[in-house]
């Protein structure tokens, strides 16, 4: 096991690399926060293909938008139904 100072230096360098990659992600308008980017980096380091990972992220975002849309529609329908009952 490397000595604590060496480990701390390695950790700081890794943090710095993630910071730079996060800045590049912002420049490319990837809509990734730092935490999500760190998870993605860990996945890639575990052998996950970046294109597969991008597909999963896009699909999850799409599903999230669909769920939001459904909730908004349900809320609008509930408001409309309440208005009809009042009349």
């Amino acid at each position: 096991m490397p000595p604590p100072t060496e480990r701390a230096e390695k950790q700081a360098a890794a943090q710095q690399a993630v910071d730079i990659l996060h800045e590049i992600a912002t420049i490319l308008n990837c809509h990734l926060d730092r935490r999500t980017l760190s998870i993605c980096i860990s996945m890639i380091e575990n052998g996950i293909n970046p294109e597969a990972l991008a597909n999963v992220i896009k699909e999850l975002r799409k599903q999230g938008q669909d769920v939001q849309l459904e909730s908004a529609e349900a809320a609008a329908a509930a408001v409309a139904a309440a208005g009809t009952r009042r009349r």
Binding site: A13, Q16, A17, I20, L21, E23, I24, A25, T26, I27, L28, N29, C30, H31, L32, D33, R35, T36, I39, C40, I41, S42, M43, I44, E45, N46, G47, I48, N49, P50, E51, A52, L53, A54, N55, V56, I57, K58, E59, L60, R61, Q63, G64, V67
Partner: protein, 109 residues
């Protein structure tokens, strides 16, 4: 086995970070897990990644976003000392997720 456990935990983290919702999570987790383990995607070509990045840099300049081009150039240069075997793949991911940066990116972000 340890790999699958690690990947499962990371998939859970990704689901929580990206979608943030807990409804209907199990089928989504399984679908995500299946896609992630799918090996049909081509391997990252580091030269193609470098070419796409320099193409983007050029495009930023062409559309008058010189500040953005300079910011990208500076960050890529700063990344050089930290480069490892996974750097091209992470940059490949960022290129796949890029959302019309020449139009929508803001330097203030």
């Amino acid at each position: 086995m340890a790999f699958l456990a690690e990947l499962g935990a990371l998939t859970d983290d990704l689901l929580a970070a990206v979608s943030g919702s807990s409804s209907n999570v199990w089928p989504r987790r399984e679908a995500a897990f299946r896609t992630l383990r799918n090996n049909n995607f081509p391997r990252t070509n580091q030269f193609e990644v470098a070419e796409r990045l320099s193409g983007l840099e050029e495009r930023f300049s062409v559309v008058g976003r010189d500040g953005l081009a300079e910011a990208l150039r500076t960050r890529l240069a700063a990344l050089e000392p930290h480069r490892n075997q996974y750097t091209p793949e992470v940059l490949h991911l960022l290129l796949e997720l890029a959302d019309q940066p020449a139009l929508n990116s803001k330097l203030s972000d």
